[in-house]
Symmetry: C2
Subunit: 371 residues, 2 copies
């Protein structure tokens, strides 16, 4: 995404106007005042120790992830975490189950190390484990987004999670759990992570978290939780890729978490995003009626807008782009043809009037693409 | 390197006590006050535009690099720049000339994409181009550190630079110019970059710079300069690896360069490092005499300590490590056996008394390893 582009309905941008910028700036100034030498010295590949400790505690409390700080590797975001896991855990030719439709940067990371990526369909319960067992029972790895399937938004059922963990344990395979949007659940308490569901000692799950959605995208900080004993290998791999993340921001983030600002911000955003989703759905119904069906989602920062049969999502997105609206066609994320065309729409950072204007423009694009 | 370790004579740490921390903190606070939204939004893979502009200007003025901001890609440091170039410009099986001895993380980056790395010896004039022509005239790429050969510290002669550029132009091959320590030349004006020597329009050189040595290592910012027309491909490749570097630090660094703090700091460090090198050489002669020969170097932040024949650099380094002294054995950086054993010694961040104590400990280690 190009700089400065926060046009409706771009994906992946949180409600930046509601971020406690002054607190962040204050913690930053305090770190530079108290601790400058620490912020300048090289670190090891696993990241700044106090941040790793804060993450271990947070991930347990918020997401049921069981780990010590030694198992936490700070990354430059989810994509780098996937690349690290691919590099360390896969050999050329290894098979990987990949959600279809799915998160294309993950697919690219597996392909980059020479893995054979097998699309496994996603239904209402998430990844179709039985399908995977049928086509590639000995796959070395499975990639899933159980909290909010990217891009369909379905939440993986408990039965499927257990089936996937069972397969991984018996096949000796890895499960990459990208806990995308795990923080933003609107209809009750979220399911805890698969990492926390795993049989203690099994060690098949690599858990991925990111602060791009909960803090802000330009921070470029995320983390992976690896099984006991794997921390050093991941740390060395990170060193060989790009050393480590900048220390100053890790130190500020550690303070932000430890002093309770992070938990407070996530709670506030959960309420705000739920309100904004309700508003978006209501406005979309009013402005677009049946020409784009938007249903509420129990989680996440984006919604799907289903298009009438025969309307090309790519064509609508191109038209919208020419009028300053950024929507992602669902078909771009599918290797095979999607069941029905749809647009992915980010809704959380936009005001009432931005949303309204954006939806009106989109309605016009839909009318001209039907004509 | 593990956190907090700045023991004598660790490599790669600048004189942090002389860094203008207050200026940096002030510029950081100002960015967060004036510009918060900009620091939080996602960017494109090439990096923050004002920083790319500041780098293009600086690289021309200081290093004779000819480019526009479109050719500048901000990286998380030199290693990531090498990895990007390897990923985009090499195919599996391609041959790469690599300095021997050489910068092992570069070797690892080429190997990671399946390239065949060929060691090409380094002599007093730098990379032996004639040797390279003999063993692999059709290599796809050559990696060089012409300003300060890593680890030998020799400066590549003009004749060799021109020979390498001639070969690259006629073979259609790439030259990766890692301008390691290009800023720190003590015996006069440094040679300008090979990128600037290249025939205009040739476009065979990828130039790499880093701020790890000139600002501080934990910043994790560097850059590559690519030929015209290659910016978008490198930007997309960076997006697919880890998106982009954090924006806040890029914005602060842009201000730091544009407002003249950077040029002033580099000038001050050049004087300081020259003094510290003279002090180090004098103290080493006094404390170690003939048991470790340290000769002054015209450039860089480290020196070579040559050991008597038959003394193992690895053994001395192990002994030193057990006594809290960090030195790197030269033989660790060589695929083949080095002509003579030596230690690499960082000298710039240490006080007179730290240097003195460190050298005394090292003298004891040498005596016990000779015994």
């Amino acid at each position: 995404m190009a700089r400065g582009r926060c046009v409706p309905f771009v994906l992946g941008v949180p409600a930046l106007d509601s971020f406690p910028v002054r607190t962040w700036a204050r913690l930053t100034a305090r770190q530079w005042r108290r601790n400058p030498r620490n912020l300048m010295l090289p670190d090891d590949g696993a990241g700044y120790r106090p941040l790793r400790e804060a993450i271990a505690e947070y991930a347990y409390t918020a997401r049921g992830v069981r780990c010590t700080a030694d198992q936490v590797i700070v990354t430059a975001g989810a994509i780098q975490g996937i690349a690290l896991a691919a590099r360390l855990l896969l050999d050329r030719g290894d098979q990987v189950w990949m959600e279809e439709p799915g998160f294309s940067p993950a697919r690219a990371a597996f392909t980059a190390v020479g893995a054979a990526v097998l699309p496994v369909p996603v239904d209402q319960e998430g990844l179709d484990v039985t399908f995977g067992l049928g086509v590639a029972p000995k796959a070395r790895m499975a990639f899933v987004t159980p909290s909010f399937q990217a891009p369909m938004g379905t939440i993986m059922s408990l039965a499927r999670r257990l089936a996937l963990l069972d397969w991984a344990a018996s096949a000796g395979s890895w499960v990459i759990e990208d806990d995308y949007n795990g923080e933003f659940r609107y209809d009750g308490r979220p399911l805890s992570s698969m990492q926390g569901l795993e049989h203690p000692g099994a060690g098949q799950v690599i858990y991925l978290g990111t602060f791009s959605k909960t803090i802000f995208p330009a921070l470029r900080l995320g983390y992976i939780v690896v099984p006991p004993g794997y921390g050093d290998a991941f740390s060395r791999a990170r060193l060989s890729m790009d050393r480590h993340s900048p220390v100053a921001e890790q130190a500020v983030l550690a303070d932000f978490i430890q002093e309770g600002h992070f938990a407070r911000h996530v709670r506030a955003m959960r309420r705000l995003y739920q309100e904004r989703q309700e508003r978006f759905v209501a406005l979309a119904r009013r402005e677009l009626g049946d020409s784009m069906i938007v249903e509420p989602a129990p989680s996440g920062m984006r919604l799907l807008g289903w298009l009438p049969p025969g309307v090309s999502d790519v064509r609508v997105a191109d038209l919208a782009a020419s009028r300053g609206i950024d929507v992602l066609p669902l078909s771009r994320l599918c290797l095979s043809r999607p069941p029905r065309n749809a647009l992915l729409l980010g809704y959380v950072p936009f005001s009432h009037s931005e949303t309204e204007r954006g939806l009106r423009t989109l309605a016009q694009c839909l009318r001209s693409s039907e004509a």
